[in-house]
């Protein structure tokens, strides 16, 4: 088992590949994107001239010191936040107009307490087309079965009729993942989804997440503070600098899948996480000077 060397960030731009007619185009492309909050002297640059391209079906982790703009990138890609300059391209179109389906999961599970676990999971089907049009017809049949199947896949078989507050934190987060995946999104955005869980639960969820990704091959963009999480789950890790954020390093993670949990104790894995750690510590101290 070998770790790919840390390569300098040089993701191809969507426009150049498109111009050259080279398939496949990346699902997501950030081109020289800058994000500033506030105006005038008080403005803060959260993200500076960032370029990032993510291929369809890839699993990319964003790591970096806190406040470096990791979540800002998620909000850009999901269309919740417009860039101050530059373009965000999702599925070949500028963000906001894209026909892609997006699933999102935060650290806070934000399940609706008045709905059962199954109803929570089915919520996106009630809202997203083309499922929405058939909601009345299929909510008791096909959609229900689909939710149950997904729940079973994350180990929550038989919990569909419980209410969220009857579940442990780990189970709530599993439900949250199901809700983010039920409408078969092209893109799954995860913002520290396992951050509030204890070590063992977190590792269980890593395994579940890997399994989900391997069966569905959804494109995933994961924001995390946990370097082991990034190295265990992702195909690619992008390391960001302190504010104003930009991508410093872009390295591939080559451990074969399915990765057993023991992989985290292998020397190559430890070397990788240590390098990432040194990098981020360096960025942090440079920022505080």
């Amino acid at each position: 088992m070998t770790v790919a060397p840390l390569v300098q960030a040089s993701p191809p731009l969507a426009s150049t590949t498109a111009a050259a007619g080279l398939p496949p185009r990346p699902l997501i492309a950030l081109e020289d994107v800058t994000v500033r909050f506030g105006r005038g002297a008080a403005s803060v640059t959260a993200l500076a001239e960032t370029r990032l391209a993510i291929a369809r079906g890839d699993f990319v982790a964003l790591v970096g010191p806190s406040g470096c703009g990791k979540s800002t990138i998620l909000r850009l890609v999901s269309g919740l936040l417009p860039p101050s300059s530059g373009t965000v391209i999702v599925a070949g179109r500028e963000v906001g107009a894209e026909p892609v389906r997006i699933g999102m999961a935060y650290q806070n599970a934000t399940l609706l307490p008045w709905l059962t676990v199954r109803q929570n999971v089915m919520l996106p089907l009630k809202i997203v087309e083309p499922f929405r049009s058939a909601w009345r017809r299929k909510k008791r049949g096909e959609y229900r079965d689909r939710a149950e199947a997904l729940l079973a896949q994350v180990g929550l078989k038989g919990f569909g009729d419980k209410y969220p507050w009857q579940l442990s934190g780990g189970m709530q987060q599993r439900t949250n993942l199901c809700r983010a995946l039920i409408h078969e999104p092209d893109l799954l955005l995860l913002d520290e989804p396992f951050g509030a869980l204890d070590q063992f639960t977190r590792e269980e969820l890593w395994a579940t997440m890997q399994e989900l990704w391997m069966t569905k091959r959804t494109t995933v963009l994961l924001v995390t503070h946990d370097l082991r999480e990034a190295a265990y789950l992702a195909n690619r890790i992008c390391v960001m600098s302190a504010r104003p954020g930009r991508i410093l390093e872009d390295c591939a993670v080559a451990f074969p899948r399915p990765r057993p949990m023991e992989v985290v104790y292998e020397p190559d894995f430890v070397t990788l996480t240590q390098r990432l750690r040194t990098l981020i510590m360096g960025v942090r101290s440079a920022a505080s000077l």
Partner: protein, 261 residues
């Protein structure tokens, strides 16, 4: 089983307290020989209620009617305004001072205006009941909708949910516990509103009956009116509590639902 015993015990205690108050009242009046023009005994009040029920009943039903109609309109207008204000931060900040201003006007003061506009009788009572119960409903519904977690709103917006989708699926259900809490306040306030209006400008209703009774020093009848108002207020409060329990059980999960499941 233990929980059941617990509820029985608390219920029994509160009933005993209420009865105790009446007993002390009765005994004190007898012991100190208080004239029934100053303070009638509870037994006298009940006797008046029973004896003169045919005369009292139309007043009671009039008050109940104006209160419920005013309350109904208040709920409609209050929910509409609450949804409107809660859905937008700008609306919330803009309209809030005005609402506070309106709510701090003593409602007795507006009754003459309603009388001027609509004449004496049922209409001003309905309007006063409505005006007085709008404010708590608006504030509670707006708060429930405005405090939806931002993460949840992000999740919904990435699903391309419209504002209406978010309101319908998240905002409104989330506001329900707030709404029902405000209903319990609003229904008791609505009684205040209609009785005040009847006292000032009406020839029907419990408020009017009490005015007439006190001007002829029929103090037991005045107290009968009070008892009647208390009974109606409590009944409606209980009804709304029961509905609340059914609709928003998830918000009281620690006490009820956990046992049911």
């Amino acid at each position: 089983m233990e929980r059941l015993l617990d509820t029985v015990r608390t219920r029994a205690a509160s009933i005993a307290l209420i009865l105790g108050v009446f007993v002390v009242w009765e005994v004190a009046c007898l012991g100190f020989r208080v004239s029934d023009i100053i303070l009638p005994r509870p037994s006298q009040v009940v006797a008046v209620l029973v004896d003169r029920w045919p005369a009292i009943a139309p007043h009671a039903s009039q008050t109940l009617y104006t209160t419920l109609v005013g309350f109904g309109w208040g709920v409609l207008v209050g929910v509409a305004l609450g949804v409107l204000i809660g859905s937008s931060r700008l609306a919330f900040q803009t309209a809030y001072p005005l609402l506070v201003g309106i709510s701090s006007i003593p409602k007795v003061a507006v009754v003459p205006i309603f009388v001027l506009w609509c004449g004496a009788g049922t209409v001003p009572a309905v309007l006063t009941a409505m005006i007085i119960c709008i404010f708590p409903i608006v504030v509670n519904v707006a708060t429930g909708i405005a405090t939806v977690e931002p993460e949840l709103e992000d999740v919904m917006r990435t699903l391309r949910a419209s504002k209406l989708d978010i309101l319908w699926n998240v905002g409104l259900p989330r506001a329900m516990p707030y709404f029902f809490a405000s209903l319990k306040v609003a229904i008791t306030l609505a009684f205040v509103g209609s009785v005040v209006a009847e006292t000032v400008a009406s020839n029907r209703g419990v408020g009017n009956m009490m005015m007439i009774a006190s001007s002829s020093f029929n103090v037991p009848l005045v107290f009968a009116g009070l008892f009647l108002l208390a009974a109606m207020g409590v009944s409606l409060y209980v009804i709304f509590s029961l509905i609340e329990r059914r609709v928003t059980g998830w918000a009281h999960r620690k006490t009820d639902l956990a046992v049911a499941t």
